[in-house]
Symmetry: C2
Subunit: 233 residues, 2 copies
């Protein structure tokens, strides 16, 4: 049975923008596992009903339905132990803590930079769903939440700054080679790359060169995915 | 030559409250390495001049002077590879990112909860130094920064919440056993335990039971160190 990954999309079915889906895509590339990416809309709950919940990524691997990017990463390491590991042995809890930290602190900084671009690129039914579900979570309209892009970029820089020394001393969060920590962080940068050409970083920023290295990984599939071209600030 | 760790203290020379010093203490316990803790005041720059900088922890290991808790952890794993590892092989960059995240996001939440207690426990010369150096950094008086304890505790809970699932599924950030990730996080909790008996957590909080497990490690030396007794909220 073919391996399938359900992936958020919009009006253009080639467009795959979700940061959590990108974690799973990069993980699958890293493991060298073929898969078919299935375009999925927010409101198409029926298509992923067998996963027992209503969000993507959902991986269908043989007869197993696995939801949640973290569970997918653990599943891949457990099921394919002979392929390159995503999470180093003895660092599963630490990787989970990093996963949680990026969700809480890094995604919050990217979200205002992408929210209106995502809204504009969704189909009409998903637009209504997106506004209805997100505005109560955000406590304001999407437009108010988006705010001022340049100001949001400065906040992003501040939020990335604690990790600059890490990337000055290491090629990847995985060390000499990327691992799932890089996929976690790169998901957020792919979220941005898929949604606009707004330049996030100057070329001398440690995250700029790290992102370039990540875009070149795995046959440069992230670089050529439907989205925008990275430009330095 | 005896191994020595320079440690921040106050009026009571038994009192060792620095979260960064605690990272190094716990790391030395973990490695099973004896050391003499040397009481050190903020203003006693001469005593650690050989480290080439003015902050503790400073470890003197034979003829090597090592400053900065991160450098000390790396030194200990490199110099004593046959003792239990602090940082799993292949996870040095990830551990560094975790280190940076705790500095940026977790210490910021503990700091207002301990700042006045620390000030009150310093000797007169260090009190002046502490106020002079900290107030410009904080952009307000120590008293204003301390603010309302109960409000600060709520912010702490919110900041810890992303990591609750990690500790629900794992005994330690190191997995089944503590490693340097636990020392990093525990440093912040020891900062609080050393400075006041203000109850931070209810007994059913995942961080409460994790802290209990950490206090029991290494011959319960952290539990019996000069400071206060932990009480559940």
């Amino acid at each position: 049975m073919a391996r399938k990954l359900f992936e958020l999309t919009g009006k253009n079915p080639e467009w795959r923008f979700s940061p959590f889906v990108w974690r799973s895509r990069l993980a699958l590339y890293h493991k060298g596992l073929d898969f078919e990416g299935i375009a999925w809309n927010f409101t198409d709950k029926a298509a992923i009903e067998q996963s027992g919940q209503g969000k993507v990524p959902v991986l269908v691997d043989g007869d197993q339905w696995i939801s949640d990017s973290w569970n997918i990463a653990c599943h891949l390491d457990q099921t394919y132990p002979d392929q390159p590991r995503l999470i180093p042995q003895g660092s599963i809890a630490l990787m989970h803590a990093f996963n949680q930290m990026v969700d809480a602190h890094i995604h919050a900084l990217f979200r205002p930079l992408v929210v209106m671009e995502i809204y504009d690129a969704l189909d009409a039914q998903d637009q209504a769903y997106f506004r209805q579900t997100r505005e109560p979570m955000l406590g304001k309209t999407l437009e108010a939440y988006a705010g001022d892009k340049d100001q949001n970029r400065e906040l992003l820089w501040k939020g990335l700054s604690p990790f600059e020394p890490t990337l000055k001393n290491n090629s990847f969060f995985g060390g000499d080679h990327p691992n799932y920590a890089d996929h976690i962080m790169m998901g957020a940068f792919m979220w941005a790359k898929c949604t606009s050409d707004y330049a996030l970083l100057p070329s001398d920023h440690p995250f700029f060169s790290w992102r370039e290295r990540m875009l070149d990984q795995y046959g440069a599939k992230a670089r050529t995915a439907a989205g925008f071209v990275i430009k330095p600030l």
